[in-house]
C-alpha cells in the first residue's frame, strides 16, 4: 500500500510536465465549454408564422434587457404586493392558450440563460370583448390599451430594491416557478446574473426618472421618447419643464405599407417619414440598441407589418346601414381631407401631413417634449451602421393627420388618449368627459370606443384618467393650471399636463353638428 503510493508519487513527479499539460488541457476544455455556453445566442423564432413572430419574436432587445426566464416567471409571486393583482396579467399582459408567456415577449438563450424580454407586440396587441361575459379577443396591431407599461417599469424597480431581491430568494422563487438550474447556472445566478440584474434595474430606475416628472401614464400610454433620452442619459433636471411631458397613447400598427408608400408622417407629431427608421427607433424601447438588434427577425416583422395581411378586423357587430349611409357624405365633408376617404383608402390632401398646433390646438406637451436637440442627437445612435442611421427625424410644429383604419379599436382618442369615444370627440371640448376610466376592453357600440364609465371590470380596478382637476373648486384653486389649459399652445406645467382633452374642436371638426349627424358619422366610422 505504502509502496504503491510512493510509486504513484514518483510517477507523477516523473511525469510532472505531462500532468501540468493535462491540467492545462482540462482547464482549457472547461473554459471552452463555459465560454461556448455563455456566448451561445439563439432566439425562439416562428418564421413560418408572421403573426406569431410579431407576437413572440425577438427584436434583439432581449440580449440587453432579457430577464432569465425562471426569474421572469417568479417575479409576480416574489414581489406580489407591488402588483395590482395576480400575475403579469394584472398589468394588462395578454396570455394566449398554448403559450407559456404573455403576448409581446420574446425568448432568447443569451449569456447563459433562456431570457424573456418585451417586443413590439407588448404595446401593439390589444383585446376587445363583445359582452362582459365573453372572452377577450386579442388583435395583433391594435394598441395595447390595457397594458400598464409605467406600472410594469415601476414594479420591476420596486422589486429590485426589495430585500427579497437577493440571489438566494430569487433562485428559490424561480425553482418554485418551475425552473431547473444546473450547478453552473446557479453559481452564475448567485454571483453574476442576479446582482447584475439588481444593479441594472437600479440604474434603470434612475434613467427612467422622467416618469417622475409627468402624470402617471396608466394603461395604454407611455412617454415614448423617454427611453431614448434615458439611453442618451440626458441631465433631465436641466431640461425646461414644458419639455418634460411626453406621454402618448400606443398607436395601432395596421397597414404600414400604404403609409410608407405615400411617405406619411409617422409618430403622433409626424417627426419621421421612414417606416424602417420608425421601427428601429421604437425598438430602442425594448432594449434593442444598434449592436444588439436582431436584424433578421425585425425585418421579417417589418415585412409583415407592411404586407396587406396586416389589416384591422372588420367591426363585428351590426351597424345601422341607413345611418352609415347618411354619415358618409358628412364624413367626406368634414373628415376625409385629413383622415382619408375611408378605412382603406387613405387618399386626401392632408392625410399624413402635419396639422400646425395653432390649428389643431390639442394638448401640446408631447409636441414640446420632442425637441430639435433630440432630433439632432438621434442622428448619432446608429452611427456605426451608415445604411441604418437615422436621417429622417425632424422637429415638427404640430400633430400628424392619421388615417382611421380600425378606428373602432383605437380608443381612447387623440394622441394622449384623452377623449374616451368617437362620439365624445365630436362634442365641443367643454362637453367631453373630464374624468373617465381606462383599461376596460368592453366595446361601447353606441359611442364607439370602450366602456369608460365603470371603475372596475372583472373585479379589477380600472385606471382613473383625469383630464384636469376635478376636485373641489377650492382644492383646485391651489393647484397649478387646474383646468389644464394650454392656451398659448405651449405645454404649461401642472399636475395634469399632457392629459388635456382640448383641441380638434370647432365647426371645421364637426363639433357643432346636430346630434343625429354626429351619430351618423359614428355609424359610418364603424365601417373603417
Amino acid at each position: 500500500m505504502f509502496r504503491r503510493i510512493r510509486g504513484s508519487v514518483r510517477y507523477c513527479w516523473r511525469g510532472r510536465w505531462r500532468a501540468a499539460l493535462l491540467v492545462f488541457l482540462l482547464l482549457l476544455f472547461v473554459g471552452a465549454v463555459l465560454y461556448a455556453d455563455y456566448s451561445r445566442d439563439s432566439a425562439e423564432a416562428f418564421f413560418d408564422d408572421p403573426v406569431k413572430q410579431f407576437k413572440y419574436g425577438s427584436t434583439g432587445g432581449d440580449r440587453l434587457a432579457g430577464i432569465p426566464e425562471g426569474i421572469f416567471r417568479a417575479l409576480p409571486q416574489l414581489c406580489r404586493e407591488y402588483l395590482p393583482g395576480d400575475g403579469w396579467q394584472s398589468l394588462g399582459f395578454i396570455f394566449e392558450e398554448g403559450m407559456d408567456r404573455p403576448i409581446g415577449t420574446s425568448r432568447r438563450y443569451s449569456l447563459g440563460f433562456e431570457r424573456i424580454a418585451l417586443n413590439c407586440a407588448a404595446c401593439h396587441v390589444g383585446t376587445y370583448r363583445a359582452t362582459p361575459e365573453s372572452k377577450p379577443i386579442a388583435v395583433p396591431g391594435m394598441p395595447a390599451h390595457r397594458l400598464d407599461l409605467g406600472r410594469f417599469t415601476q414594479f420591476l424597480t420596486q422589486c429590485a430594491l426589495d430585500e427579497r431581491f437577493n440571489p438566494w430568494q430569487v433562485i428559490q422563487a424561480a425553482e418554485h416557478a418551475g425552473a431547473h438550474y444546473s450547478l453552473r447556472q446557479r453559481l452564475l445566478l448567485e454571483y453574476v446574473a442576479v446582482p447584475a440584474m439588481k444593479e441594472a434595474l437600479i440604474l434603470a430606475r434612475y434613467r427612467f426618472r422622467f416618469l417622475d416628472h409627468e402624470v402617471t401614464p396608466g394603461p395604454g400610454r407611455f412617454d415614448t421618447f423617454g427611453p431614448e433620452k434615458a439611453l442618451l442619459n440626458w441631465p433631465l433636471e436641466k431640461v425646461p419643464p414644458e419639455q418634460s411631458v411626453g406621454i402618448v397613447d400606443f398607436p395601432s400598427l395596421w397597414l404600414q405599407g400604404p403609409r410608407a408608400k405615400s411617405d406619411m408622417h409617422l409618430h403622433w407629431d409626424g417627426n419621421n417619414t421612414d417606416v424602417e427608421e420608425r421601427n428601429r427607433s421604437a425598438a430602442f424601447g425594448t432594449g434593442a440598441v444598434p449592436s444588439l438588434l436582431d436584424r433578421k427577425s425585425l425585418s421579417f416583422i417589418a415585412g409583415w407589418l407592411r404586407s396587406d395581411a396586416n389589416q384591422p378586423p372588420k367591426y363585428p357587430f351590426t351597424t345601422d346601414a341607413a345611418a352609415a349611409e347618411r354619415g358618409k357624405p358628412l364624413y367626406a365633408k368634414y373628415c376625409a381631407e385629413c383622415h382619408g376617404a375611408s378605412g382603406r383608402d387613405f387618399s386626401g390632401a392632408r392625410v399624413g401631413q402635419i396639422e400646425p398646433i395653432s390649428k389643431i390646438r390639442t394638448d401640446p406637451c408631447r409636441l414640446d417634449n420632442y425637441t430639435h436637440d433630440l432630433t439632432a442627437e438621434q442622428g448619432n445612435l446608429y452611427a456605426a451602421f451608415p445604411a441604418e442611421r437615422f436621417s429622417h427625424f425632424r422637429k415638427t410644429d404640430g400633430y400628424a393627420n392619421l388615417p382611421l383604419d380600425g378606428i373602432w379599436l383605437r380608443a381612447p382618442y387623440l394622441h394622449n388618449g384623452s377623449v374616451p369615444t368617437v362620439r365624445d370627440l365630436l362634442e365641443p371640448a367643454d362637453n367631453r368627459a373630464k374624468v373617465f376610466y381606462r383599461g376596460n376592453d368592453l366595446v361601447d357600440r353606441l359611442r364607439l370606443g370602450f366602456v369608460t364609465s365603470a371603475s372596475e371590470a372583472g373585479g379589477a380596478k380600472l385606471f382613473r384618467y383625469e383630464t384636469q382637476c376635478t376636485d373641489d373648486p377650492a382644492v383646485c384653486a391651489r393647484e397649478q393650471n387646474p383646468e389644464n389649459r394650454h392656451d398659448a399652445n405651449v405645454c404649461a406645467p401642472g399636475k395634469w399636463a399632457g392629459n388635456s382633452n382640448r383641441g380638434h374642436d370647432g365647426p371645421a371638426y364637426g363639433t357643432d353638428l346636430p346630434a343625429e349627424d354626429k351619430d351618423a358619422i359614428v355609424e359610418f366610422l364603424k365601417t373603417f
Binding site: V239, V289, L292, D373, E377, G379, R394, K395
Partner: protein, 497 residues
C-alpha cells in the same frame, strides 16, 4: 541538419542559417506589426458629400492626425458625464439655460439628420476620428422667434458656440474617475460592433491615449483659466497660436475676439484681414487657421486650403428674412453713404485698412496681444512645418474696417462682441449696455443683433460684463450723433447689406 552529401553542416553554416531565419522572423514580425499598425491607426478613409456646402460644413481640414479624437469615444462622452455637460454648458449662463445630453448643449449648430454638429468632421484614419473644421466657428445658428425652429447660416459667426465650455467639459471628463475603459467600453459597445481586436485596441490604446491627449491639451490651454471667460461666440484668437503653436511663454494679454463671418471674402484681396490686420492674404488666413486646428502641411494641405479659399471667397449670407421698408431704407442709404461708406463699403477709401486705436477708441487688448515678434515667431514655425504663403503680420495698431456683409447676423458688434445691437452701436458708449446676455439665438429684428435683454435672454444667455478686460464697449462713436429717425433709417438700410 545535413547537407546534400549527407555530412553534417559546418558550425558556421548552421549559425548562418539560424541567423537568417531569425532575421526573417524579425522582419516578418515588424512587417506584420507595421501592417497592423497601418490598418488600425493610419489607413485612410474617404469622405463623400452631396455638395460644396456640405463639404465645407462636415469635411476634414486635415486635423485628425494630430488633433483627432476617436469618434466612438467622443460620441458617448456626454452620456457618461451628463453632470459635467450640465456644469460646463451652463457656467456663466442664466438659470434656465437648458443642457441636454449632447454636444448641442454647447451651442453647436446641429442640423437634423447629421451625425455631428456643423464644424465637426468624421474621417477614418485607422479608426474614425473627429476633428474640427472652419464651420465650427463659422456657422451661425439663429431663430427668428422664441418658438421658431433653428436656422443655420454657413459662414456666419457661431455666436452661440461655447467653445471654452466644450473644451473644459472634455478636460474635466478626462480627469474624471469614470474615464476608464471599464466604464466607456460597454457604452461604446451598445452602438459600435467591436471584435476582440477592436475591443483591445480601444481598451488598452485609444481610451488611454485619448485621456492623455486631453490632459496634454488642457495643459497647453492652462492660460485660459487666468484670463476672462471667452463666453459664447468668442475665443482668444491669437493667444491660441501664440501659446500653443509657438510655445511663447504665457503672458497676461487678453485677446478675446468675436468669431467673424466669412462671407464674400473674395472681394477683400489687397485689404487687411482678421480683426487687427494680422494677415494680408485670404490664403494665409485659411492656411494658418488650418494649422491652428491641427492640420499639418502634408499632402493635400494646399489644395484643400485653396478649395476653402475659393468657397468662402464667394459665400453669401442669407438675406434679411423680412421685407425692408423701401423709403426708409432709401433714406438710410444716404446716411450710410455720408457716414459709413468710406470705411465700410466695398471700395471705400479706408475699407480694409486698420483704423488706429487712438482714432477708433475701441478696446485695445486684442491689438496688444499680438505683436510683430509673435507674428515672426509664428511664421518661423509654420515655415518650418512646410506651410507656404502662410505669413501673418503683427497687429496693425488698430482695427480693420470691414465691408459690411450679412450685418443682421453679426451681433454682437465690434471685434470683441461688446455691443449687442446696431441700435446700441449707434448710441454713445455710455448709453450702451454695460451688462447684457449673449448666446441667446433669437434675432432682434428691430434693433438688429440678437435678443440680449429681457427674461428670455437673461434666463438662457451668457452674462457678458463689459467691465472685464478685453470687453470694453467704448469707441466707434460714428453716427452716435444722428437723430433717432436717421438711425432707424440707417438700420433699415443695414438690414439689406
Amino acid at each position: 541538419l545535413s547537407g546534400a552529401d549527407g555530412t553534417l553542416l559546418s558550425r558556421r553554416r548552421y549559425w548562418l542559417i539560424f541567423t537568417a531565419l531569425c532575421l526573417a522572423g524579425v522582419v516578418l514580425l515588424v512587417a506584420g506589426g507595421g501592417a497592423l499598425f497601418w490598418w488600425k491607426y493610419l489607413k485612410q478613409g474617404g469622405q463623400t458629400f452631396a455638395d460644396d456646402r456640405e463639404r465645407f460644413t462636415y469635411g476634414s481640414l486635415g486635423g485628425e492626425l494630430v488633433a483627432g479624437l476617436p469618434y466612438p469615444i467622443f460620441m458617448i462622452l456626454p452620456r457618461v458625464f451628463p453632470d459635467l455637460v450640465a456644469q460646463y454648458a451652463t457656467a456663466g449662463y442664466g438659470p434656465a439655460k437648458a443642457a441636454y445630453g449632447g454636444y448641442g448643449a454647447f451651442g453647436l449648430a446641429w442640423e437634423e439628420g447629421q451625425r455631428l454638429p456643423a464644424g465637426l468632421s468624421i474621417k477614418r484614419l485607422g479608426y474614425e476620428r473627429v476633428s474640427l473644421n472652419c464651420a465650427i466657428c463659422h456657422t451661425a445658428s439663429y431663430r427668428l422667434s422664441a418658438d421658431g425652429p433653428p436656422n443655420f447660416a454657413v459662414g456666419g459667426p457661431a455666436h452661440t458656440l461655447n467653445l471654452q465650455g466644450l473644451l473644459r467639459f472634455l478636460f474635466a471628463a478626462s480627469h474624471d474617475r469614470r474615464f476608464t475603459s471599464a466604464r466607456l467600453m460597454p457604452e461604446i459597445a451598445l452602438h459600435f460592433p467591436l471584435d476582440s481586436l477592436d475591443w483591445a485596441n480601444y481598451s488598452f490604446v485609444l481610451i488611454p491615449k485619448t485621456r492623455a491627449a486631453l490632459h496634454l491639451a488642457e495643459h497647453e490651454l492652462g492660460w485660459m483659466d487666468k484670463k476672462p471667460a471667452w463666453g459664447p461666440g468668442r475665443d482668444d484668437a491669437f493667444n491660441l497660436p501664440k501659446f500653443i503653436l509657438t510655445q511663447t511663454p504665457w503672458d497676461d494679454t487678453v485677446g478675446n475676439t468675436d468669431f467673424p463671418a466669412i462671407w464674400r471674402l473674395g472681394n477683400r484681396s489687397g485689404g487687411l484681414l482678421h480683426s487687427a490686420g494680422e494677415a494680408k492674404s485670404l490664403y494665409a488666413v485659411v492656411a494658418t487657421s488650418a494649422v491652428g486646428i491641427g492640420s499639418l502641411p502634408l499632402n493635400g494641405f494646399q489644395a484643400r486650403n485653396e478649395w476653402i479659399e475659393s468657397f468662402i471667397g464667394k459665400l453669401e449670407p442669407p438675406p434679411f428674412p423680412r421685407p425692408a421698408d423701401p423709403t426708409t431704407s432709401e433714406r438710410g442709404k444716404a446716411v450710410y453713404a455720408q457716414r459709413c461708406a468710406s470705411c465700410h463699403a466695398e471700395g471705400g477709401a479706408r475699407t480694409g485698412t486698420a483704423i488706429p486705436l487712438a482714432e477708433i477708441g475701441t478696446d485695445p487688448e486684442h491689438v496688444l496681444a499680438w505683436q510683430r515678434r509673435d507674428a515672426e515667431r509664428m511664421n518661423l514655425v509654420t515655415g518650418a512645418l512646410g506651410a507656404r504663403r502662410a505669413e501673418v503680420e503683427g497687429a496693425q495698431g488698430g482695427y480693420v474696417a470691414r465691408p459690411l456683409v450679412g450685418t443682421w447676423l453679426l451681433g454682437a458688434y465690434l471685434h470683441n462682441g461688446s455691443v449687442p445691437t446696431l441700435w446700441d452701436l449707434l448710441s454713445a458708449p455710455d448709453k450702451r449696455p454695460a451688462v447684457f446676455y449673449r448666446g441667446y439665438d433669437v434675432v432682434d429684428l428691430e434693433r438688429i443683433g440678437f435678443v440680449s435683454t429681457g427674461p428670455a435672454a437673461e434666463a438662457n444667455g451668457f452674462r457678458f460684463d463689459t467691465a472685464q478686460r478685453g470687453n470694453a464697449n467704448s469707441g466707434h462713436t460714428y453716427g452716435t450723433d444722428l437723430g433717432d429717425a436717421d438711425k432707424r433709417a440707417l438700420i433699415e438700410y443695414l438690414k439689406t447689406l
